[in-house]
């Protein structure tokens, strides 16, 4: 009885405690705006800040245009039309999610550079003596737009596809009878109806674009993230780096708010609950070829091409794939992934259980606030956590405690948990939603409550959600670059850091092994996502 009430009280405190740990790094960064501004800040302000802002805005507009074009049209095609390869594209269009933008950037430069694989291949095919250059330079902002568009469009594809699948057929049919053509229904009904969902996906893409460090750094494009990194590691001015981070954070918060508002409005998309079988139209001739090519291009550019190039690096250069460094960095990545995934899943499970057990709206509010962590760029989190750990180190040394938190794995794990909590929460929350509240009531009458209720009833019932959470978080951790780069202990290499280090030294072929490993791990969530979409339409299975 005593342990039970202790457990229930601990459950009430846990979310508040975690909330403080999650929020403090962000608050510390924002607080820097009130610090004194150094000479470096005025240098940045006078000479490069404009460039950071203009480049970031240009990137956002370019990437938004292409992800909307690719994501919405491809999801519309695979939902409403039948054409050559449709069943392949339904899931293949998500594949580029497995390739982080920095890896696509590494492969794009090696493919399209003057002496890149594509130019060499074409010169060999056409037996050209002069080394002709067929492709434009990609090491610029246009190349970065292409990289982000081809890796991030699946966010828009996924939300649009889910929204199209759940769209009321009767509304579309009403539009047809009222005089709209098929294309007309897309622009006048389908897209306006799913607009909130599209905005939510687009906001995610924009946040990822703003947060990226690896790709823009490889292309040497001055943006906020590269500026923050250079200010910290080049000028050794953490204060100015934090002030710069605050500006980026304000940008990100705006898009986070847009994303949240859009998600809350997205519910009206499926307000009409008529789930009839789709009249999927069979495309013939040129139309079928056009649809196939339209869907194939992003899959090819975002997944097939980089994979071919990575395999090319590995095979042609006879790399000792499983060398000591690779095994060591794989082990480190795996270790971090397992620790972070287990902890994040356990925390998310306990918070969701606590919110359900106590029916407490405040706890639910805390949980949904914690999910905002995914939007905070890894670089900013790293800066905030470093500040927090430095403060803790000073504090514990005062008590002669012999442990230094800064530079330990603790900061890294905190960053991963903050970044991945939303992923974990979404799988576990949906698991809990499927467990009827009557089960809790019945359990209470059988004298099962508190900790017993948790491990006898809820734990077995949401175990699929727990497993999904572990896989999703683990895969995300292995891909994460900027936070790992800054917070890792000295000489602690992970797959992402190895790939970055090799690429930054232009030792691209050696980057193949860690890059391939990251892509393979990145495929895990895609398998899960495909399964989730398969079972998403109520009434009748679409596939």
């Amino acid at each position: 009885m005593f342990y039970n009430s202790l457990f229930e009280n601990l459950l009430k405190i846990l979310p508040i405690f975690l909330f403080l740990i999650f929020v403090t790094p962000v608050v510390l960064v924002l607080f820097s705006l009130f610090y004194e501004y150094s000479e470096n800040w005025f240098h940045l302000y006078n000479y490069v800040l404009n460039e950071y802002i203009i480049n970031s805005i240009f990137l956002i507009f370019g990437v938004s245009f292409f992800v909307l074009l690719i994501g919405v049209l491809s999801s519309w095609l695979v939902t409403y039309y039948d054409f050559a390869g449709k069943s392949f594209f339904e899931w293949a269009l998500i594949l580029p999610l497995a390739v982080p933008p920095y890896i696509l950037a590494y492969t794009f430069t090696e493919i399209f550079d003057t002496y890149g694989s594509a130019n060499i291949l074409l010169n060999n095919i056409f037996l050209l003596d002069d080394k002709k250059v067929f492709f434009p330079n990609v090491r610029n902002i246009y190349g970065a737009i292409a990289v982000f568009s081809f890796t991030l469009y699946p966010y828009v594809y996924l939300v649009s596809r889910m929204a199209f699948i759940n769209q009321s057929i009767s509304i579309i049919e009403a539009g047809r009878v009222l005089g709209l053509s098929r294309v007309g229904t897309l622009f006048k009904l389908s897209i306006p109806l799913i607009r909130p969902a599209i905005f939510a996906g687009l906001a995610l893409v924009i946040m990822e674009t703003l947060s990226d460090f690896g790709a823009v750094e490889h292309f040497a494009i001055p943006t906020f993230t590269t500026g923050i990194f250079r200010t910290w590691y080049g000028m050794y001015d953490l204060n100015t780096a934090m002030q710069l981070s605050s500006l980026l954070l304000i940008f990100v918060i705006i898009f986070l708010v847009i994303e949240r508002i859009s998600r809350s409005k997205a519910s009206f998309v499926s307000s009409n609950s008529l789930y009839k079988k789709y009249n999927v139209i069979k495309l013939k001739g040129y139309n079928s070829i056009f649809a196939m090519l339209f869907c194939f291009t992003p899959v090819f550019m975002g997944f097939i091409l980089p994979i071919i190039e990575l395999i090319n690096w590995t095979i042609n250069y006879k790399l000792d794939f499983f060398n000591k460094d690779f095994i060591e960095s794989s082990f480190n990545s795996l270790l971090l992934a397992i620790i972070a995934a287990l902890l994040c899943t356990a925390i998310s499970f306990l918070i969701n259980f606590s919110a359900r057990l106590h029916g407490n709206k405040f706890l639910s509010f805390l949980s949904s606030t914690l999910t905002l962590g995914y939007g905070v760029p890894g670089l900013i989190l790293a800066i905030g956590i470093t500040q927090l750990l430095t403060f803790i180190d000073n504090y514990v040394q005062f008590f002669h405690f012999n442990f230094i938190f800064t530079g330990s794995l603790i900061g890294l794990i905190i960053a991963y948990i903050i970044k991945s909590y939303a992923l974990s929460n979404s799988s576990i929350e949906s698991g809990f939603q499927r467990v009827s509240s009557s089960l809790d009531d019945v359990s209470k009458t059988l004298n099962i409550s508190g900790i017993k209720l948790m491990y006898k009833i809820h734990l077995p019932l949401v175990k699929t959600g727990l497993l999904t959470s572990i896989l999703l978080v683990g895969s995300e951790v292995i891909k994460e670059l900027p936070a790992t780069l800054i917070l890792r202990p000295f000489n602690f290499e992970t797959l992402a850091v190895s790939a970055y280090n090799y690429a930054s030294e232009e030792r691209m072929y050696e980057a193949a092994a860690p890059s391939i490993a990251i892509v393979i791990v990145g495929l895990l969530p895609i398998i899960i996502l495909s399964r989730m979409i398969k079972s998403s339409r109520p009434g009748e299975a679409l596939w």
Partner: protein, 219 residues
């Protein structure tokens, strides 16, 4: 005066799997301005018949003519947006992102001032003019159905197709709406095919009642 045939169905056969025919040899002529009720139990094929007439479903066998023009046979099918028919369904299919007046204006062609005036006239006729700027989610089920009928009539369809339009309404509302709809259809000389399983709907609305059983007209 001999009235024109507005809708002609000849030898309509339809199946979703090429084996079990949901409609089997349907022949029907409907005169201009006539209201025909098709009565039948669930699954007898009456909704499928409406979907074939509207062009939402492709015809397997037979021929459909609207005012003497073939709109569908086994070889070709004019798409629904070129058939000039109106459709009202049982479930609420107002566009949720558009206001009431925008819904009614949706299918009307022409200048905006003309479209607005026509939509307002229709909303007035169906006594929902006070909800012009409201959104579908903010008005009652009965009001939504009035707007849905107004929207279907707004583009001046040659034929109005109604699939259980009053089924989700309570009894008082049903009586009111049947009466109003019939009056408007008669005044505007609109041909209507009403599909229902409710004998009351059929009796109070229709000039002629046809029973459909196992995919065939039951004489």
């Amino acid at each position: 005066m001999v009235k024109k045939i507005s809708l002609s169905l000849s030898k309509i056969k339809h199946s979703y799997n090429n084996k079990d025919f949901i409609l089997n040899d349907i022949n029907l002529d409907v005169s201009e301005g006539e209201i025909v009720a098709i009565l039948g139990s669930s699954g007898c094929g009456k909704s499928t018949l409406l979907r074939l007439i509207s062009g939402l479903e492709k015809l397997n066998h037979g021929e459909i003519e609207i005012f003497g023009k073939t709109v569908a046979n086994r070889d070709f099918s004019i798409p629904p947006n070129h058939r000039n028919v109106g459709l009202v369904l049982q479930e609420k299919v107002l566009f949720p992102h558009l206001s009431v007046i925008e819904n009614v204006k949706f299918g009307i062609k022409g200048k905006n001032i003309f479209r607005t005036k026509k939509a307002l006239d229709l909303l007035n006729l169906f006594r929902v003019n006070q909800y012009v700027n409201s959104y579908p989610n903010n008005i009652s089920g009965g009001e939504q159905q009035r707007v849905a009928i107004a929207r279907a009539i707004a583009p001046d369809p040659q034929i109005l197709l109604m699939d259980e339009p009053f089924a989700s309404l309570d009894e008082d509302l049903r009586m009111d709406l049947r009466h109003e709809t019939k009056k408007i259809l008669n005044n505007n000389n609109i041909t209507c095919i009403l599909v229902t399983h409710d004998i009351e709907d059929a009796n109070s609305m229709a000039d002629r009642i046809i029973k459909l059983k196992d995919g065939q007209i039951d004489d």
